[in-house]
Point group: D2
Chain length 470, copies 4
């Protein structure tokens, strides 16, 4: 997962890009970068680290120009090579080309090997360079950048929200299933595209609309123009954007994320009510869920765990004996709220289960009588091939393990995951318009060795399946 | 305001001190330091910056020893001199002496000039060095450190929670009014003292009790011993620890801070109910207040403002036109929650009023129909001489300005501050046991040019007065 | 100008590469990088800055493997893009490919545009990527890497000392004219190639020999093998390596650099003797020249200027009035040596003349009676297209300006440049085996708009010409 | 050893202090600091590190004022505490007082304990704070600062060159023996004092004269005034300033350091001639000696060892096998100059002998036929109590070990130290005016357990003794 942004504004873009990336920092904390275009020259800065570490006033002042793109990258398990930091910048035939990408191609190996057969070499290990290579080649044969992107999109399979800058013009496009978000805004003297609407809010820009799946947008000093490149019967919006990735104050494809999470909280109560004296989120991501659960159940919302805001990447992890207590540095139970109480904890998801176990143990240590765990997503049982860095099936606690066993592993008094039906209902989208691959093992496009486009949702042999009515 | 900690534990103290300071980081982000004592030698490291910036694994490994003290400092308006970073370390007559201090003396100028008359010079501009100088001098005339501290405490006027380390023994003492907090805990192989109980929680140590006002504690490898140095008829606990300074998960003088804030929220509703569709905190400090207000009023608690967690000290403030939008980088209104709605915003306090005004303007810009501001403290009308860095009377928006005028200045539809009576009731302490100086202009000890020990609470000529029934 | 190194040694290479780069740091202070290959994976680190700033023990420990290459880059006037930092790393068809390059191609624009016509895009603005692209493409058609490099070398025009690493095997090759240096050494458990022999000295490795112009070397865990790819009638060794670039303790193409400089000093005396009381180098580069001049003339060698060793890249340049004194921070005249004396100053070269002027003024200010300037190279009158970052013709003080005018501009009492004939004789190489392009305007290979392969050396119309007897 | 500077100049002093400290950086690389005084306020910055690391333009711009003092500190074996960084700053009785010190007191323990008996405590472990405490106390009893310093100097025993700043007036004083250097200069709009004359050169200021031993100088906006506080029959100038500490371009007490070193080189040849083909310095400090030896002997001066300029404090020392080769990273033998040759190496001194041994081994490894070691100082046989951080007697290779044994230990073909008589003659000072304690074990003032004021120079029982004719 990454955050991307592109701005064309006559007043200069480096500072607005910097502020927009701050609003998107939750989508990636590993590296950050900005490329701007000014009078035929590219200006670029990117490095490992948080935005606040990568940029300073001097650097931003050097990044002149009225057009630019930016990127924040999530740490992934792949090779950590400085070359992979985005924006990627290329030159060919007098063109200056920069590109940022959020998503993951499922056919990048096949595509890159086609090019390598003709002698092409790749400077990075990113899908992004594959997309750039295709666009560049098609551009030599096409009459326009729009046509080149069209031809490129025919070849790509997977998730891709892309912002490219060719000689000072911005081109943004979103894959036909719209798996990853991308939206359009109006700045005071221009236009912008960004992963989430909060980037517009941060700039005081006006959110216009989400980009449509399969749509191509062109922004330059003249203004903005749109073109629908491909159309699909259904979309494949990533359901985890609503559950976890996006900021709760973002509106993704017409739906306020916070409200989805609150509704999930309400439905969690309806699906699995519990007699308890306090409902507490696991901070920060559990808050919206917990307010919904509290309202629906009447159980008072109280913070039972307080997060230490100062623990970041440079925190020195304790060694030996202290290590098991690491989670207590980050989350401090409020004894007065939980001692002797039956507590409902709400979290967004369970991946490996180790952190959940530690939190529950800690809450008990501070005197909770009962700990009931409620989870804002169904069990994660399958990998994601479309942009999320999930562990392999084996490491997922819910893989081939029914909820009762998971409950016992994390040592909760009760455990309930929201049902897939309820989750989908909470998003307001039709089931066939969402990608729930990691929850069902069934994906909205063909992936080798996996099932796709299933027609119903069932829990069979420890696996959810989505049955789509197509 | 500062955070202090002292630990004696056979297993080594530098890493525990580091973790304890992380739990106290909210009490001071300007500088951090640790001194340890090992086999007759002092080890010390301190510098400007957050704990995460000041310390690394190498430095902590150098700080050997089973006894040590630590400090985090709040930015104050005084001279910013590196010498002022604490712990302060001294040597005299073969002794090695380190000291940390939270609080503010009101007679430090007089005390220091007494010493200067005898030729003493001061290396820092801190009260802490004055305390150290007195202890050192008394020690030359006394038979014990306990006696020297006793004599020292007779001279000091003001607030002082102090942890000192003399040749590897820890001495902690709290002023007779107990203005600033200090508490005792049991580590696995020793004991600790710290500003707040969350430091114990972070280490998995056991919170034992608050130190009593006027009490002296001695900790060494043998164990812990206590001695009541002075007794007062009443105490003067800082009421703003409950309102704002302390972490909500701390227990201060027997009272869980979170619960005080929640109760204030409930009483705010009772004192000033409002017809509204959403009650939202100003994050982060308003949350506990808002849950109380929501529960008492039945108005749904929803986050109407989302805080950007990544904006810290290195954030580059926008220039010119963008500057007025700085607050929007930190706090993003959730349009879906507030557009067309009547919104109650709850904040802990109003100081100058400028930030409140910007927040209210921003919430209106995102469509709020009405904005009702509720504040968890009475108007701040007077300076603090006892450890809090408040602006001068002139800069305080509530100084000589009745609430209606403040309401109009911050452009709220309605404004209500909690009443002083309700606030005191929420803390569970007797009025005569609290310092409410900044709210009343009347202080629990004599301060030149100010009133002290008043007997009732009244709003007279734009000023609150507390009338104590002693 | 850059410094490059490649090592294959069973004992691990990251620390040896680091030490070798330290020995080559004088060839480039702008950026540094190392790539290693271990068990099918590439490890890479590179960044702006000196080696000491770019690497630390942790980073070097991560760069595992028994094969690796490294690079230090000189600041050039081109775009300063982080992508340009070397080694460049590429992947194609399962291969992992890294490359470093010292030199400059004169046909890179034509070569890159050929590739761009076929849709290739370039991620950097370096010649190095062009070389990589050609090798990769040829490799898809060739039976071996040796053959691919052979085909590549047919296409390249210019100077190129290259070290490439393909899947853990090192390939080093030097252009047919051998313009930039490259030499081979034997480490304890393997082999190495590097720009200069001092890299071998630093590691305690054995210097074996210079690589021949047009030669290709292959190093892997099996050992080393050589192949002569192309042969030329004459070579084009860069004469400025002897005058300025190389460390004086390096042996370049069989000749100790220090001795060349000392001989130049002797000949400077023969060509332009002067009555003087002291001969002093302009430190550091003038020392060897000055010892030669002193020995030949009998005038005592004394340091008349002492260099401040601590002034580096982060030195804050004085503003306004102090600026003209900046040179005095770096070079301090020894009043006792020069006051009232006739002083001979020896420097390696004059480029724009501004620094020379300031030094001479400073020496006079400290009391020198006369200042005679002697220069270890003939006037620089033309640009370098082959790897040296010289200013344009217009900025060169000697362009279209006879020595007498230069003498007056720099305010010396007398000025003498070594003659080209003497300089060439000092190197021990035949005139037709040296590139003296910047001194003659005549280059050893065809460059558009410039003369090449001239047959004599003459000063005609303010321009030196070399007349080669071919 | 440390470097100190004070400037009063109407045009502002922070940048001039910064440049002056750069010129004195060789006197201390561990920490640096500047204090300035402006309109009643002290501005101060100091930290561990080189000047270039400690200061930047922002910091210097904050240090406003037309009076200031600065310090660079040498690493010593004592406790490395940040409090010890100078200038030390104090406040007392409305005064603002800063102080820097180069030297070492021999009675500081007794002095500090006197103060501690009266209850005084010390914030640092430096002699400097003791001096400050005495001045402050005397000032309360005296009518003037001059008188207070006078009284203070009566109490101090040892070496002390001090610059103090009281409320914007600079006071500089030098101990009665003048052990450490201190000199006066004229800036464009004011005056300055500094450890060495090179600080004046760097600023383009005019060197006026050395301060006299026992002299006190006062500088303020009005100008400069002098007063002779004490007079001695003889002085005790540190002979190692001439041999090693001072920059060779400094004039110390009327003598150009470079010339002393050159004369020593000449006398080394007279005392111990050798048949050799090359004379080379051990860089950097051996150069002046070597030029003298070369001139006197006719053996050509050639650099046989080239120093790598880039190896600084952050250089990562090799581990294990490579460690013995560490010296070869710093000093690279020039094979062409030494292979098969008889080489004379000249160094300033031998302390433990380990580095000398490694250098000689290295030179042999590069083919030297014979290595003759010549040393610019007599054997160091005793500790320094007056400001130089020498190892204990036991660690000194020359302690109780005659030169023949040292020669064999360092594996030289011959070894000669300059005789003490010749060394003294080279300085031009009378024997009774120099401190040669580390060379004779006899000191110019009384030190407990050591001899003082001896009357002749003799080598008796492995120890030099100086016999003074007083």
């Amino acid at each position: 997962m990454c955050g991307i942004v592109g701005i064309a504004d006559a007043e200069g873009v480096s500072f607005p890009l910097y502020y927009a990336l701050f609003a998107l920092q939750h989508r990636g904390q590993e590296s950050a970068g900005i490329s701007t275009f000014d009078a035929g020259k590219l200006h670029n800065h990117k490095a490992q680290g948080l935005i606040a570490e990568v940029f300073n006033r001097d650097i931003l002042s050097r990044l002149t120009g009225s057009v630019g793109i930016g990127h924040v990258r999530y740490p992934t398990t792949g090779e950590n090579r400085p070359e992979n930091n985005q924006p990627l910048n290329f030159s060919f035939k007098g063109h200056i080309f920069s590109i940022v990408h959020n998503g993951n191609l499922v056919n990048s190996t096949r595509l890159s090997s086609e090019y390598e057969d003709e002698g092409h070499i790749f400077a990075t290990t990113t899908d992004t360079e594959v997309i750039a290579a295709i666009i560049a080649r098609e551009l030599t044969r096409s009459e326009s950048m729009e046509e080149a992107i069209n031809l490129c999109m025919q070849k790509l399979k997977g998730s891709y929200s892309v912002i490219a800058m060719l000689d000072g013009t911005i081109y943004a496009f979103r894959d036909p299933l719209g798996i990853k978000p991308l939206c359009i805004g109006k700045t005071e003297n221009g236009y912008m595209v960004a992963s989430e609407s909060v980037a517009m809010d941060a700039l005081g820009a006006q959110f216009l609309r989400d980009m449509k799946p399969g749509e191509l947008i062109r922004i330059d000093s003249e203004g903005i123009s749109c073109r629908q490149i491909t159309r699909s019967n259904h979309t494949g919006l990533c359901i985890f954007e609503y559950v976890y990735f996006a900021r709760s104050d973002s509106v993704i494809d017409g739906v306020l994320v916070y409200d989805v999470r609150k509704k999930i909280g309400e439905m969690l109560h309806q699906e699995a009510p519990v007699q308890a004296e306090i409902i507490s989120p696991v901070p920060d991501s559990g808050t919206a869920f917990a307010t919904g659960y509290s309202e629906a159940s009447g159980i008072p919302f109280k913070e039972g765990l307080i997060k230490n805001r100062y623990i970041g990447r440079t925190f020195i992890m304790p060694t030996q004996k202290l290590r098991e207590n690491a989670v207590r540095m980050k989350l401090n139970p409020v004894r007065g709220h939980i001692a002797g109480k039956s507590v409902v904890l709400v979290d967004d998801s369970i991946v490996r289960g180790t952190t959940s176990r530690r939190i529950i143990d800690l809450v008990r240590e501070f005197g909770a009588r009962e700990v009931h765990f409620r989870v804002g997503s169904p069990p994660i049982i399958a990998p994601c091939y479309l942009g999320v860095d999930l562990p392999t099936r084996k490491e997922l606690i819910a893989h081939n393990r029914p909820p009762e066993q998971v409950c016992s592993r994390i040592a909760a008094d009760s455990l309930h995951h929201i049902s897939l039906e309820a989750l989908i209902r909470a998003t307001g989208h039709a089931p066939e318009d969402l990608c729930c691959g990691c929850l069902t093992g069934c994906y909205p496009l063909e992936i080798e060795g996996e099932r796709s486009n299933c027609r119903s949702i069932d829990f069979v042999d420890g696996t959810y399946q989505m049955k789509l009515e197509i």
